[in-house]
Symmetry: C2
Subunit: 252 residues, 2 copies
């Protein structure tokens, strides 16, 4: 199913630590998300704290600030609050974060989505929740449910990317997939190994044939790349040469 | 498919900032992971930096430290390195993080798994990679591939939990799923709304029947909970009462 394309803005509500705001910006930049909004930050000078926002200069520069949540979610068609789920009196359905994409697709969500994160100390409040169409919970452990703000933002941004809710521009030439060595080069290695083992006196006459089959199987199981096969071939050739030298020396 | 149960240890190789070590510990605790190993930390006093390890005291206390990577991965059956994939000369297959679980299941991995994270500045080096059975890449954007260390750990821990590679002990009584109001209570609301609208002079004689159907449909679409239905019922009752008062006053 083709995912609905939503425009996401991440909204930090009353964040206390400017380093966490910068870290949130960095996580957004990591996953190609550009829109961060900061509501009523505790430190008015948060934009200057850039040490944690490495690589996220554009996100920081574009970040909006507003005194109240209602000022920033006006054009959102979907407002989603994040919560640890530790409070018992929420009386709302909590969508596990891994299910969010399916939930949004089921509801045919489109347009602008706002994802809200509460302050480090208290999370989102009931006033904030009253604006939310849905509440999402990162499935953390019951004995340590509360996440660091920047980490919670990173996990949510990753999940949106993983589930195809945002498109992340990947590297143009990603390193190639595994390329296996050819049967020909493995057979060449096998012959060389056989010769080395013969010269070393490895084989017992009765089990020789069975051992040879095991060696061939072992070479296959090594899942060698062409480069790995070359290195192993060169090693065997060297050992072969040395053994031949030793054999000739012994015969002289 | 029942996932293979692996015992995970997260290994921070040459981390520089103690705050990131604490943040990594917190992320592990969030997802029920207990084993952190620190290899050759830049700051020998990293264990004292606990401000970022809120809730992760047990992980920090249990954390091991070692001078070299080989000292800590000896009993691992799977060693996985993390990388941004930005370096071009890796010459290895990179498993996208969302595919890691499938990859491990395909390989029937079991036993002890070590997940390695490099230093904030340089990531893992070729020496570290040479110990790895697989390399994993968090699918970050090409123009900002490098993640904060604590956030990278958080995203990986979340992914292990999401994919069922670790079992996270969830809250015992999670807040209940959405409970819809009964048809009976919606019909009650409908009757009350109808009465209020009649008294307000909302209906035109010709379209009255069609409007009533729309009102019933609207009440259904509201997806009210029992509590929401009660609140709306009480509001309508109040308006009804006020309108009746006004009507009687007008008639007197």
């Amino acid at each position: 199913m083709k995912p609905q394309q939503l425009n996401w803005q991440f909204v930090l509500v009353r964040p206390r630590n400017p380093l966490n705001i910068g870290a949130a910006a960095r996580a957004l930049a990591n996953f190609g998300l550009m829109e961060m909004v900061v509501v009523a930050p505790f430190e008015p000078t948060w934009k200057e704290a850039r040490t944690s926002a490495v690589g996220a200069e554009a996100v920081m520069a574009k970040a909006r600030v507003a005194p109240k949540l209602v000022d920033v979610i006006g054009d959102a068609t979907v407002v989603i609050g994040t919560t640890t789920g530790a409070r018992r009196n929420l009386d709302r359905e909590l969508v596990p974060l891994p299910d969010l994409a399916a939930e949004l697709r089921r509801g045919r969500a489109r347009g602008r989505a706002a994802l809200l994160f509460g302050s480090e100390k208290t999370g989102l409040g009931n006033e904030d929740f009253s604006h939310c169409h849905a509440l999402v919970r990162i499935p953390t452990a019951s004995d340590c449910p509360s996440m660091n703000l920047g980490q919670a933002v990173a996990v949510c941004a990753y999940e949106l990317a993983r589930a195809g809710l945002v498109t992340v521009k990947q590297p143009i030439s990603p390193p190639g997939r595994f390329e296996p060595a050819t049967s020909h080069s493995l057979e060449h290695l096998y012959k060389r190994a056989q010769h080395v083992l013969e010269m070393s006196g490895y084989f017992q006459p009765l089990s020789r044939q069975a051992m040879l089959l095991k060696v061939r199987r072992l070479l296959l199981d090594l899942k060698l790349t062409p480069s790995g096969a070359r290195i192993l071939g060169a090693i065997l050739a060297q050992v072969e040469w040395k053994l031949e030298q030793a054999t000739h020396a012994g015969h002289e």
